[in-house]
């Protein structure tokens, strides 16, 4: 059993700053895929239900099956520029 704890520092944008906060720390017992991170967020913040979320790391948007390295992440609600 892998006991190493992983920390993700999430920076939130737009509506998510109100539902989660500007930043939040998420601890995990192993690395997470983007899909698993989204499931964790929905569990911790049920008010996110129905909001499509995108995740970026190292200045790249990540697909659901990609594995997130420990460290900083950006999490986005739908974009509304222009």
């Amino acid at each position: 059993m892998d006991m190493s704890q992983i920390n993700y520092e999430l920076e939130c944008f737009g509506l998510l700053t109100e539902l989660i906060g500007q930043t939040t720390l998420l601890e995990s017992s192993g690395t997470l895929t983007v899909g698993a991170l989204k499931a964790r967020l929905l569990q911790d913040y049920p008010q996110l239900i129905g909001i499509p979320i995108k995740v970026a790391q190292d200045n790249e948007l990540m697909g659901d099956v990609e594995v997130l390295k420990p460290g900083k992440l950006s999490i986005f609600p739908p974009f509304s520029g222009g």
Binding site: F13, A56, L61, F76, F79, S80, G81, G82
Partner: protein, 146 residues
């Protein structure tokens, strides 16, 4: 070494004089025959009897700049264009002010007719930019793009 990516973001509203200077700067580019400009202006939308007075924009600036650059590169490949410029506001932009300025130039008009709407739609869909609509009575809602 690759060219550094120019940021598309400017603080606050975009001044019409900036647009004039940008047009004037193209008069030495004598292969250009057609320019097309899109401007997004903050609209006084009514919601439940209240009215939008401003939009406050935030963004993941580095990622937005990178994606805007990639979108431009894709359009340069696809159409015969001379130049493309993109500016987007950050912070507060009042009703009636310009928050988004997209400028495409080409030798011939057909290329700008095709490229400009495609560029504007892609930027609105793909840039991590977030608009907070502020109402007269002090409340707000988060802008939703269609």
């Amino acid at each position: 070494m690759s060219k550094p990516i120019k940021s598309i973001f400017v603080e606050g509203a975009i001044d019409p004089d900036k647009i004039a200077r940008s047009i004037a700067a193209h008069q030495s580019k004598v292969a250009i025959g057609a320019h097309q400009i899109f401007l997004g202006q903050v609209r006084a939308d009514q919601v439940d009897g209240d009215q939008v007075t401003a939009i406050e924009y935030t963004a993941q600036v580095d990622l937005a700049d990178k994606i805007a650059h990639e979108i431009k590169e894709g359009l340069f490949e696809k159409y015969d264009l001379s130049c493309m410029h993109i500016y987007h506001s950050l912070g507060r932009v009042a009703v009636g002010e310009v928050c988004f300025f997209v400028f495409v130039s080409a030798p011939h008009r057909k290329a700008v007719f095709q490229a400009l709407p495609e560029l504007v739609d892609a930027l609105k869909a793909e840039l991590p930019v977030f608009g907070k609509e502020c109402f007269e009575r002090g409340t707000h809602q988060w802008k939703v793009n269609n």
